[in-house]
Subunit: 556 residues, 2 copies
């Protein structure tokens, strides 16, 4: 056995959902698998995008050979511009995945210099000690791959996101044979998607949605408005096909919907029947029962097309009584309220609403359920197993799911979270050193706009109880207080209440100033702290609130 050292270093997506990224290192060569982003929790006030902190890669810049992308979802490619702005390494992915990444790079003016390399499922590329084999898997978007990475120590198999769809819409099947073949030859380490480990049985095929679509088209008497994730090319294909069958024209609305359908159509991944498309500006001039719209914005994002349609503020589409609105998507946890609000707006406009509920599904998951995960485990029979993509809970359950393989080739399972690492060498596998990882919060989507934790803490404080700022003018020469202190406050108490409260606060500041000795008053830092402490005690007693207090001493 070679004496080298293999390290698996998760930079994001382990112990959390979203922003998947991972480095694979053999001695002094690294490749990076995916560079995703996540949308922030509501607690990250004013933050629009969160990406992994790529400091570890930056610190080892000369080792990093390439970025490999598994598929086109934001939690796998959304951080690409952020990574490439720090190190312009070659990127490998299928044409669709790269085209989707290009959009993001273009937005950040990084496309011109990017080194993008197309691969197809089945291809193998050599990157130093790594031989990377791209294996087709099925998922909720198109052109997705798993990775079999042969290293001097053995094969590392990374499933990326997958389900095992036995009847894929595009007839591009999950390459079970490749998984079986690797399993037969022996796999050192399997990393597999844990997203749906809590769901028993098998996920339904994308084709399971078709009967429901047929039902919806058969019974709708006026306009049909669908919303789905814009990367759900299979779903869009099915809606197009059923629309053609039921003789409805289709209008595509929303920036991302237009972009992804154009990209996938150009690549031959989306078939659009002739004369099917309707220009958005023609929607309202077409008889309602001949119209179908596919609109982006399933999660009730405030500026999305669907949200604007819901409040009748879209220039091309107005939903009327009797129209049907279909959410062909899942509710991402945390978005219940905005989606609910949006659906209530549609209800008020008299639309029929279809989402979830009984009968055939109007949406199916893109991630395999427990039996699919078990099938992969059994096909691959790895020596070491490391669940990926999930919170700690999902990782633990996936680890437990693999326990039946112990004694059947599986030596150890490792639950590794961001900031930890796995080491494999001639002595076997074990948890390795801690790695400096974390998250970067970005405002407004511009790469430079990193929001620091300190700023977010202040915002949280301000959001809770507002601020109170006492301002005191002091004569530079004499150290004497000039005029009366001023107190400014916002987000703290009502105007009425503050007009009662603040005069007392002013008196208190004056008292604090007067009761301080000459030495204290010669040190503005000390005086600011004294004023802050006294005011804090007073305001907390009077209001039970704890505003952010920032005393200002102005030298005049």
């Amino acid at each position: 056995m070679p004496t080298g050292k293999l390290q698996v270093i998760p930079l994001g997506g382990l112990g959390e959902f979203g922003m998947n990224s991972m480095a694979l290192r053999y001695n002094d060569v690294m490749i990076v698998i995916d560079a995703g982003m996540m949308f922030p929790d509501s607690e990250l006030l004013g933050v629009d995008v969160v990406t992994p902190d790529f400091a570890y890669l930056k610190d080892n810049r000369e080792m990093v050979r390439a970025l490999i992308l598994t598929h086109a979802h934001e939690d796998h490619i959304g951080g690409v511009p952020y990574l490439l702005s720090q190190m312009n390494i070659p990127v490998y992915g299928t044409p669709f995945t790269l085209a989707m990444a290009e959009r993001r790079l273009e937005e950040h003016r990084l496309l011109k210099d990017a080194d993008l390399n197309e691969v197809e499922p089945g291809d193998k590329i050599e990157l130093g000690p790594f031989s990377v084999h791209f294996i087709r898997v099925t998922h909720s978007t198109v052109s997705c791959v798993a990775l079999a990475i042969t290293t001097p120590l053995g094969v590392v198999l990374h499933t990326a996101d997958f389900k095992i769809d036995q009847t894929p819409i595009d007839d591009e099947h999950f390459d079970l044979h490749a998984f079986a073949e690797y399993g037969k030859r022996g796999v050192l380490l399997l990393m597999s998607d844990s997203t749906n480990v809590e769901r028993p049985g098998y996920s339904e095929s994308e084709k399971a949605v078709r009967p429901r679509l047929e039902q919806i088209f058969a019974s709708a008497t006026r306009k049909l408005v669908f919303s789905c994730f814009s990367s759900s090319i299979h779903r869009i294909q099915q809606i197009l096909d059923v629309a053609a069958k039921y003789d409805r024209k289709v209008a595509l609305l929303g920036r991302s919907m237009l972009a992804t359908t154009e990209i996938s159509h150009d690549l031959g991944l989306l078939r659009i029947p002739d004369n099917l498309l309707l220009r958005p500006q023609d929607i309202m001039d077409t008889v309602p029962h001949r119209v179908c719209c596919i609109v982006s914005g399933t999660q009730g994002e405030p500026m999305s097309s669907l949200s604007r349609v819901a409040v009748d503020n879209h220039k091309n589409l107005s939903v009327k009584a009797g129209d049907t609105v279909v959410l062909s998507s899942r509710v991402i946890p945390g978005n219940e309220k905005p989606i609910g609000r949006m659906m209530n707006h549609f209800a008020r406009r008299g639309a029929d609403l279809i989402y979830g509920g009984g009968g055939p599904p109007v949406h199916v998951s893109g991630h395999g359920f427990r039996e699919e995960l078990t099938l992969i485990l059994n096909l691959v029979r790895p020596k070491y197993f490391m669940p990926v993509h999930g919170e700690y809970l999902q990782l633990v359950r996936h680890a437990k799911l693999a326990s039946h393989l112990e004694g059947n080739g599986l030596e150890s399972t490792f639950i590794i979270e961001n900031g930890e690492s796995l080491v494999i060498d001639e002595k076997g596998a074990r948890k390795g050193e801690k790695i400096n990882t974390g998250r970067i919060c970005i405002d407004s989507g511009s790469l430079g706009d990193v929001v620091e934790d300190m700023v977010i803490r202040d915002r949280r404080h301000l959001a809770e109880d507002g601020f109170v700022i006492p301002v005191i003018a002091i004569e530079k020469a004499t150290g004497q207080v000039q005029g009366l202190p001023e107190i400014i406050s916002r987000g703290f108490v009502s105007l009425e209440e503050s007009s009662e409260l603040l005069p007392y606060a002013k008196q208190l500041v004056i008292k604090t100033l007067e009761s301080s000795n000459a030495e204290e008053r010669s040190d503005w830092g000390v005086m600011q702290e004294k004023i802050r402490t006294d005011l804090k005690r007073f305001l907390n007693k009077e209001t039970q609130r704890r505003p952010l207090i920032v005393p200002v001493i102005l030298e005049v």
Copy 2:
């Protein structure tokens, strides 16, 4: 037919979930049904409690005869202190409901003067032109009633919250006979709970949880930690019963869990087998497989007992590897993230986690599904129908569900939201005048701490982008600027960035001051606005952010 006018005036809970309250008015006499609260959306920054605005009742104080409570959930009684602090009217409810309301009144020191009147299911009371009949219904807490209110114009039947549990734990059955009897005699208006109108079929009986509980107790080898809503007396009863059967002692943890179990036990509504209870301080000294804990805090509330146990910060209970944690409750939309975080903490401590999933249910809903709602509609066959308790979406679906009764006695269905009203008189039923309703946001649970919309708007602004406050000292006598302007900022940009940016901002303020003419400079209001506008443009251009800008001019 009498010539009087009956008005139904929803004050909360119609077009939204939570804070149910409604006035029923006949000519110049009113009764109020329930006074609930809701927990705020995360957008209501710093707000702890939301109650209906009772202004309409206050404006008609002399007409209001009584407050009738249907059951003890916070969305029906949580606003009682707030209402009674404005008008001390008599309150009617079952002993358990009143005891739960008493807790809240006590907290606000309103109990001493409260006029609380116990009623039992089956009782009838007269309140002016209203005769109120309390009818037992089944729900997820105990002692719940619907109301049949006989008015000079006919019977108004209000179901309140209900499910039709055919096998209730306490053998206290839903009084279907009373509903049938009123239906036979004729009901003018039915108001019925719309919560679960989207769920097909029948809800499962509370008893359906028993097999799962047995399973859990039979297979657990160490400590068992249950969490459920503290008002779920039936659930607690079942856990106690199964614990006794499996020879485990039970410790109750959490302020609300202790209070509700004590209240229900005192009223004979909760049977606690002898020698079953374990003092919290004895938990860790008892062999783990003889311990069962019931802990409040199912929603991951940060200060709740369960959250503290999750991070091993509870003085009496420490969860170890191999212990089992069971969430016997639903996830209230919006709480997914905190609950997920809590469960991940338990997973990291090595606990087995049970919540939802396949097999027999570990929780059942307290609200009837579609077939139960239909059964009530068919039993009552009202002349007018008005769905209650739900967002617009649920109200619309419930209205649709009733449409089969048209031609079978049902004349009209009304979807009435908060702020609207329904009028019934000799000419029939119709939408009435708009009513001034709304919500009151309360901070820290103290009645006086109303948070105004303006304050919340400021907090939202601060939460998004922080603040920037330029301070300028001006000599009172001459109007001359003294010294240099100062700029304070928090929650806007990082310290580093602000040390680059703010010197420019200072220069800009000086320029704005210098370029203003004498007339402008004599009006501080004008100067503040000019400074604000210039700074806003500059900062937005440099950072794409829009902090709250409050210029301060200090006279010295």
